[in-house]
Amino acid sequence: MSDANSPQAAATAMDPRTRMVARAAREVKAGMVVNLGIGLPTQIVGHLPAGFSVCLHSENGLAGTGPVLGYDQADRNLIDAGGAYVSTLPGAAFFDSLTSFAMVRGGRLDLTVLGAFEVAENGDLANWRIPGRFSPGVGGGIELAQKARRVVVLSTHTDRKGRPKLLERCSLPLTAAGCVSRIITDLAVIDVTPDGYALRELAEASSLAAVQAATGAELALPLGEIPRF
């Protein structure tokens, strides 16, 4: 795959939001079955190398999801779980919701990339409900979070009011406990380890101080120079 590194090469010209999506795209390994959550995670598709070998799962009943189509090319019967009109790859398959979640819970999802309201240093994830304010239902989120083989959170480091999303403990109702492996934000790449958060990489325009200030828990630092993305 000769062009596998081209997105990263192009990353220098990116705004922080685009950069974090491009970084998240590198979590997708060849041959994986992957579910991308609604919002930022779905933008990962645009950062995968051309012809990259990956099977995108949409929980409404599709494996082999292709890029989003314009309304003029759209098929009224063909959407992804976020409601976008998508295309399909050669070899795509449609199936019912029972089969779709059997795929998830049965361990056939190698990776899911999800948004978050809050993450805790033990890997707890809260991304479905803000009591008294926002209660639309959990959809397929619990099962994705609890059963994908690897859960990566892709989210801004802080919420709209600048408050940290990476906390010692979640205050909001959990989607799933201890499920998150890695968090990719506009500031950093941070892993959840048995000892809590561990900083792995810093965004190009970020700094260690900025990350520490925006994180609501202790952060273990790598030995030596911190890689940039």
């Binding site: 009224r76 639309p136 239902g137 099962e143």
Partner: protein, 230 residues
């Protein structure tokens, strides 16, 4: 031997639904939602319904019409985020909403359709999503007992049906339709195309005819079935 013809009129098919019925409704967003059957249910005005549907559609579409007309007492669903009326009614207490994880809803319907009584899962254990649900220990693991979900009626949208009720769905319009078509005592199907026996290859059937009770052929599709431009 031959297989019987289940085609009927939409008025007759929907008139079988009484007040207070529990009704499964296929669809995930627009695709697979039986908009025409829903409109007939609005026209006939059955009251005090319990609906089971993945989502509450959007304003002015699908089951939103049933919410607007006050025909729905209870909704079992996975996500209503695109329907402000549903959220408002829920918050005001005029609509009883039970949330269920999407794949758990699928399995509860499967259990109901397959004549099972419930199943044990680790999904949602230790979160408020399973609060109040009976717990069960198995091999040292704490599990939740999810109960089977079955209904009096199912309203199903298919792309093609033969006269015996063998069904095929298109693309992601399949979603909950095949599962719901197995989980109701009386299954009513609207089909975009009604074909003769033998026109569907036996290997290509998504829902076998024995699950289906009544078939209605759709004429020209209403605007609700079309592309939603946001």
């Amino acid at each position: 031997m031959s297989l019987n013809d289940k085609s009927t009129s939409i008025e007759e098919a929907v008139a079988r639904i009484p007040d207070g019925a529990r009704v499964l409704i296929g669809g995930f967003g627009v695709p697979g939602t039986p908009f025409t059957l829903i409109h007939e249910l609005v026209r006939q005005g059955q009251k005090n319904l319990t609906l089971v549907k993945n989502d509450a559609n959007e304003t002015g579409m699908g089951i939103d019409h049933l919410l607007a007309s006050g025909q729905v007492a209870r909704l079992i669903t996975t996500h209503i985020g695109l329907n402000p009326r549903a959220i408002e009614m829920m918050n005001a207490g005029s609509l009883d909403v039970e949330f269920c994880g999407q794949g758990i809803l699928a399995e509860r319907l499967h259990a109901g359709g397959a004549g099972l009584k419930g199943f044990l899962t680790d999904i949602g254990v230790g979160t408020e999503l399973t609060r109040g649900k009976p717990q069960h220990e198995l091999n040292g693991e704490t599990l939740v007992l999810e109960t089977a979900l079955r209904a009096d009626f199912a309203l199903i949208h298919a792309d093609t049906a033969d006269r015996f009720g063998n069904l095929r769905y298109k693309a992601t319009a399949r979603n909950f339709n095949p599962i719901m078509a197995m989980a109701a005592d009386c299954v009513v199907v609207e089909a975009e195309h009604l074909v003769e026996l033998g026109a569907l290859a036996s290997d290509d059937v998504h829902t076998p005819g024995p699950f289906v009770d009544h078939l209605v052929e759709l004429g020209e599709l209403s605007q609700e079935y079309g592309i939603v431009r946001r």
